[in-house]
Symmetry: C2
Subunit: 387 residues, 2 copies
Amino acid sequence: MTASKETLPLTRESVQSAHELIRKHVHLTPVLTSTTLTRFASTPQTAEDLEDTEWNRQEPANPKINLFFKCENYQRIGAFKARGAFHAIGRLTDEERSKGVITHSSGNHAQATALAAKTYGIPAHIIMPKISTPSKIAGTRSLGAKIYFSGSTSTEREAVLADVEAENPGAITIPPYDHPHIILGQGTSALEFETQVEELGSELDAVIAPLGGGGLLAGIATALIGTGIRVFGSEPRFEGANDGERGLKEGKRIENVSTLTIADGLRTPVGVINWTVISDKDKVKGVYSVTEEQIKKAMKLVLERMKVVVEPSACVPLAVVLYNEDFRRLVEKESGGREWNIGVVFSGGNTTVEAIGKLFEAPQQKSERAEGVVGADGKKIAENVAG
Amino acid sequence: MTASKETLPLTRESVQSAHELIRKHVHLTPVLTSTTLTRFASTPQTAEDLEDTEWNRQEPANPKINLFFKCENYQRIGAFKARGAFHAIGRLTDEERSKGVITHSSGNHAQATALAAKTYGIPAHIIMPKISTPSKIAGTRSLGAKIYFSGSTSTEREAVLADVEAENPGAITIPPYDHPHIILGQGTSALEFETQVEELGSELDAVIAPLGGGGLLAGIATALIGTGIRVFGSEPRFEGANDGERGLKEGKRIENVSTLTIADGLRTPVGVINWTVISDKDKVKGVYSVTEEQIKKAMKLVLERMKVVVEPSACVPLAVVLYNEDFRRLVEKESGGREWNIGVVFSGGNTTVEAIGKLFEAPQQKSERAEGVVGADGKKIAENVAG
């Protein structure tokens, strides 16, 4: 059975109602600012920065940008996913909820569903790929969920899902992103963001969020209908992970994506319902993509300058603001020389020191692993014959 | 010439006066809490945790602890050092200040002095070891300071210092930690901490801070005289870096330390003036030390659970609270079973993603570098003959 047949419409009012329902269960996450990153965003890129990009030898854009960061990395379970899970489960009737919930996820949505189910005192059955990070499996299990392992393909996952559904009649399946109540839950972050920036004496001109399955971006776009705040999506480009951007160009949703981008939360194609929101030009003004190197550069800045831990997926919007010239030109043009207040959503912070280490391995270490050992004097002393 | 001959006495009132002087130049840094870390601190260590320690096979302590974190990693220039530098320079007369200031430091104090000098519109002459991290040299230079390079020994440094002083008659030398105005400036963090915890509806029972040269610890102890809040110091133990702890046992200051602990801000011996405060049992109740592994474990928790970036030196107090059984027994005993509110000072956050990577290198990467290349099948295929 899939989460409530009776669903709320995708309106700003529904997001407000979702917020009422979940606010006692989720954190009002902080909004941070950074003079350093605001200065970087308002400084044109150099000719050298643009050298290896499609904007080589072009005049760099010169937008005036003031940045605000909505820190969902400080949300419960370390990511915005807690919002959608609490909303989808909270919206069920006591009767519907009583038999428990089922979902599938390799990471943040699994922990979010486990937490929400535990809070409501109901069973959670969660299908995770066998190859999921051990710490995420342990985290989900420690929240009391029952874990079922599957292979990594969607066919393998669907087979296990069918088994689990058959074994648990009456339990409700909560999809990870492609459901109105998930979308509305994620959108609550935007209502808070809007108010918090007002409390700081400013008004948002735009919000940019990561785009993976699309629950967060569709939710934000829905929450901000009629406010005049422009909404943008951001994606990694690696191995075609920018399915949203490509889909908008081609005029249709791209159904399959196979990428190993470091932004591991954004490897999925945009969901069907989410696509109806994201492809609506009145709701989402555009989707922009960045390279793996640009994501890493942004992540380095956030960790070292803001001293805030974010996961790679969470750095994609900032990377667009700093490094995507198409986006920067749009800001320069649309703002008419005025400063734009841009809200950047830090979607999550679930990474490890070892993963950070691997991402930013010194070139020497990396080349040792790739090519062979380099002695203390810099002379290469062995080839990695297994490479 | 050394910073003002006329110095304020080391009293709580002097710290309050320092705070008045510097508050418009420094950030009121946030105080954070963490349910997860508070739970860990209030959970006894396991027999396994204690196995390789001096407390092997002993009953683990069971203190009840509530943690508060004073985040000086969010201070200007990323460390508490901004406080002392603004105070020492702010306390000079216009006349004294007019010829500029001189100091020596490999890191945070260099940038702090450069920033304060720039703010007061005076020249800063800063002696840095040639081997300082390039980013710290660049950071100091970008704040307008004139950099002079020296060798790494104190003899080499003193020689350059003498030259710079001779070339700049009238310029005032600001020592990095062993000066009353530096001590009083660093102590302002404790005044804020005390008030901020009160605003959260609690009262601090104790504060624990890192101990290197001792400016911060002596300042905090001075700020909290007469408040009933107990003050503790914390040190790395590696290669004798725990000179404060050892000095207290031997009843005299240890003058020389040579250690390469990962807590690189705590490699210096305690200064002469600082020692008079730290060795006063009425002011500092004790100094405790931890191993390199314990510092890394604490750092991993702060980055992954709190999602806050701190440098290794900043993690030493938390490591003591979590892993030093002598400290934990003291808390259990002195609190009489009641919960203690312990304030932990995160002294700074100036690290890099590459440095984090190096600290938490996966064992496989590390062993490749130490011993030779391991092929994909796990077979060792080459010895590092240069090792």
